[in-house]
Symmetry: C5
Subunit: 110 residues, 5 copies
Amino acid sequence: MKIMQVEKTLVSTNRIAELGHRPLLVVREKVGGGRQVAVDAIGCIPGDWVICVGSSAAREAAGSKEFPSDLTIVGIIDHWQVDSPSPPAPLPPAGEGSGERPGGTEKGRA
Amino acid sequence: MKIMQVEKTLVSTNRIAELGHRPLLVVREKVGGGRQVAVDAIGCIPGDWVICVGSSAAREAAGSKEFPSDLTIVGIIDHWQVDSPSPPAPLPPAGEGSGERPGGTEKGRA
Amino acid sequence: MKIMQVEKTLVSTNRIAELGHRPLLVVREKVGGGRQVAVDAIGCIPGDWVICVGSSAAREAAGSKEFPSDLTIVGIIDHWQVDSPSPPAPLPPAGEGSGERPGGTEKGRA
Amino acid sequence: MKIMQVEKTLVSTNRIAELGHRPLLVVREKVGGGRQVAVDAIGCIPGDWVICVGSSAAREAAGSKEFPSDLTIVGIIDHWQVDSPSPPAPLPPAGEGSGERPGGTEKGRA
Amino acid sequence: MKIMQVEKTLVSTNRIAELGHRPLLVVREKVGGGRQVAVDAIGCIPGDWVICVGSSAAREAAGSKEFPSDLTIVGIIDHWQVDSPSPPAPLPPAGEGSGERPGGTEKGRA
C-alpha cells in the first residue's frame, strides 16, 4: 500500500454510474509529487496522511468486487513523519536560516 | 485513478473483436508526458481532463468483466488546475514578466 | 493500454505449456526504450505500432482467462506519429541542418 | 516479488474493518527509497530483509481472497547483501576514508 | 512480460506455506538494475535470460490460481542480445580501447 496525503475533494459531475456517491479525493505521495485520485472508504479531510491500496484489492476495499476503483483509502495514519526531500545543508551560515526546514512536518489526528 | 487529458481519438481498424466499437482515446498525464490509450466509457472530447481507472477495475468500468481494457475513462473532471511543471523564479525583475505563467490553465466543461 | 512498436519475434524453445504456440513479440514504447515481450493476438509484423493491453485484461485478450500473459497486442494503429524525443533547436543556423528530424516518422498499414 | 527492508510498524487506528488486526509494516526497497506499507504474514522485525508480493497475489498471501492488501510479506530472506548505491571511488587517498562504505551491509536471521 | 536475467537462487527459510518448494530466483532486467524475485516454473540456471510474467497471470503460470506469485519465469530465451547501456564513442582514439564493449553479450542455451 502507498502512503499518500489527501489534498482535496475532486468534483466530477459526469461519471459512470458504478462510482455511485463515494467521495473521490486528490492524493499525492509527497509535496510536488504527481497527483492521483483515490476513493475514500474512511472519511478523510485534506492534510490527512493515509494508506492507499491499489491493484485489484482496491475494488473490494471500496465496498464491493464490482466497484471500479484502482486506488482506495483504507486507513488514516495516526502520526506520519515526512521524509525531507533534500537534506539540510551541512553548514548553514550562523545567524540566519532559522526556520524553513524543507519537509519534516508531523501530521497527527486525534 | 489517474488524472489525464484527452488528446485525440485513436484509429485501429485491425483489432480483436472483444474491443467492440468502444472508442479508444489517446490520453496523457501531462503536457509532454507519455501517451497511453484509454477506453472511453463516458463520451469525452479532446482537451477534457478525465479520471482514468486502471488495473482489473478497468475491465468492469468498460462495461463487462470480459472487456480487455487496462485503462478506462470513468469521469470528466469539472475543473482542473494543471500543476506548473517549473516553479516561478523567486524574484522576477520588477516591471516585466507579467504574463507567461508556465502551465496553470484551467479546463472547465459546462 | 500502451502504444508500442513491434521489433521482432522472440524465440523461446523452453517454455511452459500454457503459452502454447501463440507468437511472442519483442516490443518497445519508443526508440531506445526498454524492451518487453507481448503475446500477439492480431498478427503483427516488425515495425507495426500496436496497442498493448496489460494487467489482468491481458489474459482474456490472449484467448482465455487461463492464458499466462500480462501484455497482449489487441490492435494495430492505422497511423502513428512518433513523439520527437528532443525538440528541434529554436534557431538553427540558416543554410544547413535541413534534414535529420529526430523521431517524427509515420507508420501506416494498408 | 520485491526485496524490501522492514523499517517499523505503522499505526492506523482509523481503518476499514477488512484489514482486521494484521500488522502493517513500513518497508522500503533501499536506503533512501520511497516507503510503502506491507501486510505482515510472517512475523518480521525492523531491519529484516523480506520478500514482498504485490498485485492480486497479495490478497491470497495475506490470508484470504477478500483481504484488501496489494503488498504482503511472504518470506524473510536468510542473508541479503545490499547493492551499494554508489560504487567506491577508484583511487581513495591513502591513509583516510577507512570506514563509511555506502550500503554493503549484510542482514542475517538465525 | 519482462526480459530478465537470472542472478542466483534466493534462500528464505521462514516463508508462508503457500510458496511450497518452488525455487525463488533473484532476477534483474539489466546489469546494475534493481533486483526482484521470481518463481521458477521452468528450471533456470544463473545467467539465463528469461521471460517473466507479472500481474495476476503470474499466479496461474506458477502452477495454480492460489499460488502467491506476482512474477513467474515462463520461458528461457534461446538467444538474447543485451542492449548496450551507453553507445560506443563515435571516434575512439586509434591504437587503444580495442576491447571492453559495454553490454553486448549473447546468451544461448542448447
